[in-house]
Symmetry: D2
Subunit: 173 residues, 4 copies
Amino acid sequence: MTEYTARVEPVATGRRLHIPIPLRWGDLDAYNHVNNTAMLQLLEESRVRAFWQALPGETAPPTAVLRPGLDTGVLTLVARQEVEYLAPVPYGRYPLDVQLWFGKLGGSSVEVCYEVCSPPETAGDGGQVVYARASTVVVKVDAASGKPLRLSAEERAAWEPFLDEPIAYSHRR
Amino acid sequence: MTEYTARVEPVATGRRLHIPIPLRWGDLDAYNHVNNTAMLQLLEESRVRAFWQALPGETAPPTAVLRPGLDTGVLTLVARQEVEYLAPVPYGRYPLDVQLWFGKLGGSSVEVCYEVCSPPETAGDGGQVVYARASTVVVKVDAASGKPLRLSAEERAAWEPFLDEPIAYSHRR
Amino acid sequence: MTEYTARVEPVATGRRLHIPIPLRWGDLDAYNHVNNTAMLQLLEESRVRAFWQALPGETAPPTAVLRPGLDTGVLTLVARQEVEYLAPVPYGRYPLDVQLWFGKLGGSSVEVCYEVCSPPETAGDGGQVVYARASTVVVKVDAASGKPLRLSAEERAAWEPFLDEPIAYSHRR
Amino acid sequence: MTEYTARVEPVATGRRLHIPIPLRWGDLDAYNHVNNTAMLQLLEESRVRAFWQALPGETAPPTAVLRPGLDTGVLTLVARQEVEYLAPVPYGRYPLDVQLWFGKLGGSSVEVCYEVCSPPETAGDGGQVVYARASTVVVKVDAASGKPLRLSAEERAAWEPFLDEPIAYSHRR
């Protein structure tokens, strides 16, 4: 049987986490491009894999310290989202290389920044394609009251190494 | 059989189009809220219903003048998207009231602005809830070359009555 | 403003409920057809609208007597699903006409049967197109224990008028 | 940086292909289980990865010989789908182990059979959990005419090693 190999480990280079996120053919819309809303699901999944605690038996990066859920009484709500789509994303077998860092660590919220890049496995001479730049403000809230919860010292310590410049959007008006 | 009645007609009030967009229970995520990515699908659907030409036998608002598709050789690509989520959206039977207008009519692109509001049918004394504010930059492109296409005079004429102030985002940094 | 009118009320004809379910352009896949998995989401939504209790301020058909949710401790789990796709479903503004009935009312489960039909508004001389036939076995379970719960007398009474012959699948092997 | 390792290669054991399919947190519904429609998207993705040709630069199993698309004029339409859901599927980082084989190779259609199993990485003493059994009839059709197309000799040769007994459903009525 031929092997199908692909990166699966999140790795860190400098202040960026690289989270490999596989596409699904079902992410395509009638234009045969990854739909703009599916792209946001890829960002969501990269946050979950980068920042949420592993379950028993799983391994995860050291940034994976958050434990949200209706059972823990902690929710992580998306308060703001901004995306610049730079090139249409085709379907392919290799995972996209979603690069994440923090643009800001606030009292009870964080700004996660992303560059969504083509798989390194298929990069040509010009290097990887940057398909999108994006940022998400996520607020940690109490599930019952809906009130913001302070980031813990552990969360801050795990995330500070990945604090860097926020995205400078080119086309804001 | 009890009747289930709901608005289905897009209506215009002043410079805004109101597009009723029904939720699906499947839009909810594990937090029992409409997922942030599903919200973008609701925005997409409101654009399609507001701006895309009706098929034979269908009726549609006079703003519905665009005819994109792989068959027409015209694509409408999302270049930018910005969303502020103001309150969690619960599931309900009545359609959300997605209010749309144009923040800008450019040469080959438009900025669509939205306020996503709770159904008027369930509004209490405080009126409708504004769940989200958002804007999308959509570019009209040639499917084959990927190059921008000029908006037609017909498109401009149909859309200018709905040109108004763009969203003033509260939490941009 | 031109009117856009469409049925929104569930109606009953004989032993069938007709639930109008609007499509979304996002239901299309790269073949420009409603994706086979999106079709199942339409079935799910028709069940919710036919059988789940209305929220305060909403109206719903008399079959809408079930109240599942993590808050009520009752879940409705899909145990079996069978679908025959008879014709590709294109996108359109009018809701599909999802026709539902019960093929069986068991002790703690029901078999819901469906014919997914094209909108009556666009039917030609040949009548509506039947896009798919399907059936779903749904089990009522206790959220905490996962054990089956008996259908209540109220549920039985509300649903019995819609008990009819199950689907006779043509292509089973 | 801690490593996160997981199988990514399709492997064959006997007459079965094992396709690792990662979950997304967005596959969960308000019950905190992978939604029954998301499950079908996982099956779709496993078919694509098992049977569709690799793109330049990609590797894929020897069964990946089909090349559908609007550009090739060949579509693969789902004609029938049957699923038995045996246990709720929780979210986790490791890919599900979707096991595929053919229940039948027809003239222009195939029946794909599946067992959707929990990740081998998290299997306890009782072994992997079988979450679902399913089968899909896929027809190869001409995109323009919609007429069935014969399977090629190459397709038959690549797929015959994975022809085995079809699923014996326990709960059909």
